[in-house]
Amino acid sequence: MAHDGYFFRSRRGLPPELVEAQVRVEAIAKGYGLDFCEIVFEMCDYDEINMIASYGGFPSRYPHWRWGMDFLQMRKGYEYGLQKIYEMVINTVPSYAYLLDNNTFMDQKLVMAHVTGHVDFFTNSSWFRHTNRKMLDQMANHSARVRRHIDAQGVSPVEQFIDACLSIETLIDPYLHHIRRSRSRSESDIERGSLQSGVVKLPARSYMDKYINPPEYLAAQRAKQAREMHQMQRFPESRLRDVMLFVLQNGQLARWQQDVMGIIRDEAIYFAPQAQTKIMNEGWASYWHTTMMTRDLLEDSEVIDYADHHSGTVTMRPGSINPYKIGIELFRHIEERWNKGQFGKEWLDCDDVVVKRDWNTEAGLGRQKIFDVRRTHNDVTFIDEFLTEDFVREQGLFTYEYDKRAGHYKVDSREFRAVKQKLLSMLSNRGNPRIFVTDGNHANRGELELTHEHEGSDMQLQWAEQTLRNVAHLWGRPVHLVTQVDDVRVVLHHDGTEFKADGLKKRRRTKR
């Protein structure tokens, strides 16, 4: 094992009965077709597992107070008996998984089965294809670099800078590896060359020229060309999703600051796919732990404890969505549909309720289908493609809204379209506003203009003000944010010391 040594001074391997259990679980999992890399299980007491969880799964992270805050919260939660972490697994090769040492034997088997599901997902989901599987080393590396900067700059300046970077941590491009956003430099250079050579005329003989290339056409061509030239002189040429990268490349940052920001961006990009596939990943792992436990692993004496544990995992609280529950149910739903052949044109075209209810072509394609789904989909496409009206009804899903007059949340609709719409909007960009860089040289003064793509919900202005303040510190020049409040265009400005809002109605002005 490559990572021996720098983990825990007192790392504990598995006791013999769990080594045996691991061999058994993995053999069964492989039998079902799960495909995973080597898994290294570590036993931890609850302080250790809480620590690792507060570090996001990696025992060596750069120093920062927020790990301490998360740790305190988890420790208190455990001490007060409010929550418990059974297991933690990270996406590396080999994959490390941490087990709580006072779990019962049944819990440990369940967790091992669950973990093989996760690792299979990490290994096969195409959304993880570009993640760094040596992240354990990378994180330790990051930690060493940050510590070096702390030695040179002092604790507070580095920490303050990290805090500011974390403000824009979510403003990265989660599809970075999957979509090519901009044309490469050389391509646009070539085009620029051709544009500068004058108006492009359609080929025509001289006596036909004024018919084929009439003055209006030439004028339109010229206007188009001017527009393109203008576009090209803008900076950036088109709006950018990756605000963090833009600030990193173009902000007024010292060398150490660039290094620290690069580290935070790397880690944010590493974690992005996990956030994008939360429902699928948990659903997949839960699907496999139930399948393996109930069919292969469970002893008679463990049934009650197992049922208790499993129902705790998939329990729904009114007013919120449990990714474990939605994920596992949706996978089962897909499996059943494909087993019965409930897909394709004939199924979709059928309007007869009775026929549809009894539809069963004995296609038996369910298992294969869910393996395909886990390879290609992320949460958004998973819901978009497989959430059906039946499913929404069976699961009792509804949308809720805040009732301003009554002062509480109320059930808004149980209608399929509404539920799906809301789920998708919650999942896209993880329910955060989408922010773009629209001008890196605003008013030709090197100021940064960000634009919020308004999708019906207003931003929290106090938070926006504080965030903008941090962005201004990072950028080194004044920054502006274009957004909407109460359907009116509002521009927020921050120059690092002072905040101003244009277009805001009096009543909504922030208090601070």
Binding site: M51, A53, W65, R66, G68, K84, G312, P318
Partner: protein
């Protein structure tokens, strides 16, 4: 094993205490952890520092839930949807049942509240024995059989005299374990909490919810400190009346506000039912700080000075900001009783301030 986290934890604690990085204090809030007490959910305070990010307003987006209910039915407070990046841990929130005792212990720890000293020397605490531990010596009547046999089993296994096929376990003297007790002072005294609330038109639902939450925690703490706690509820607008608990938190009246009406009724209740020699008396008054006239405020001051303060352990006034309230009463009280230890005033502008305000109310140990 040395946990790397200790450094980060200490750093966080220092920031919370305000020793370093004062710039971060502005993002601090008392976060919470949800537990359950009977049928209601209680939140346990935890200091938190939020990193500012662009995000939607709290009530802007709504969401998707699962369960019963028709369109229009209320749903419980949805959980904060902001998951931690990369959080793959199998964390299960357990809906824990918490006893009043545990809650009070949590409060003491989180808010560093001192134990309340009951007033007057007459209120002597009684002694009470509690069986809390195990010892190797004791009378046979207190023998702990399970522990004794466990010790015997351990010894036999260690010495090799245990035969799994024929499990005979015979404890010897060294194996014997006895229940041991500790003598603890138990407060014997009784207390009455008198809640008064302004229900005039300017107090909205949010304001009442704040009062409800605050009252819950005050109850918890005082019940922890006194054996018998009685609660009485007075609502007032221009006139005051006594109501049962559930009515107290639901009533919505309109019209003016005469605070003195409530104080007069409070004095009457205390005189009739709660002689100051036998009771620890805690009047709490919640209002948005608008009184009808300066004359009435004057009358309130006289009532406080002459009747309420002499009999009370502490008079507490909590001001819940509303859109219409001027907050004048808070200023008036502070002007008059600013130096008087018996009067504690606190402002509660929003839910997040509840914990701070409870701390203000209860940290005197009176």
């Amino acid at each position: 094993m040395i946990l790397n986290i200790e450094n980060d934890l200490n750093r966080f604690k220092e920031i919370v205490k305000g020793k370093v990085r004062k710039d971060l204090r502005r993002y601090m809030s008392s976060g919470e952890m949800i537990g359950r007490q009977g049928n209601r959910r209680v939140s346990i305070p935890l200091p938190q520092i939020g990193i500012p990010r662009f995000r939607y307003g709290k009530n802007e987006t709504g969401g998707v839930g699962q369960g019963e209910g028709e369109a229009g039915d209320p749903v419980g407070e949805p959980g904060d949807g902001s998951g931690q990046a990369g959080d793959q841990s199998g964390t299960h929130a357990i809906e824990a049942e918490i006893t009043i005792e545990e809650l009070a212990e949590i409060m003491r720890e989180e808010l560093a509240l001192p134990r309340i000293e009951p007033r007057g020397s007459k209120q002597i605490s009684s002694q009470r024995d509690r069986y809390t531990g195990i010892s190797k010596l004791g009378p046979e009547a207190l023998r702990h059989n399970k522990r004794t046999f466990r010790e015997a089993l351990k010894r036999q296994i260690a010495s090799g005299s245990y035969a799994p096929a024929r499990p005979v376990i015979v404890p010897i003297k060294d194996d014997k374990r006895y229940r041991s007790w500790k003598t603890r002072p138990e407060p014997q005294s009784a207390a009455v909490i008198l809640y008064m609330m302004d229900v005039s038109g300017s107090m909205g639902d949010e304001q009442k919810e704040i009062v409800r939450l605050e009252a819950f925690w005050i109850d918890t703490w005082l019940r922890h400190n006194y054996k018998n706690v009685e609660t009485r509820f007075i609502i007032h607008d221009a006139s005051a009346k006594e109501v049962p608990r559930d009515v107290f938190f639901r009533t919505k009246e309109s019209g003016g506000t005469l605070i003195s009406s409530a104080y007069t009724l409070a004095v009457k209740i205390l005189e009739e039912d709660y002689p100051a020699a036998e009771w620890n008396i805690y009047p709490f008054h919640f209002s948005d700080g608008d009184n009808w006239s300066a004359n009435d405020t004057q009358a309130c001051m006289t009532l406080l000075e002459g009747h309420l303060l002499p009999v009370s352990n502490q008079f507490s006034y909590g001001q819940v900001d509303s859109e219409y309230g001027s907050g004048q009463f808070y200023k008036d009280l502070n002007q008059r009783f600013g130096d008087d230890e018996r009067v504690v005033t606190s402002r509660i502008p929003k839910r997040e301030a509840i914990m701070d305000s409870i701390k203000e109310f209860l940290s005197n140990g009176k």
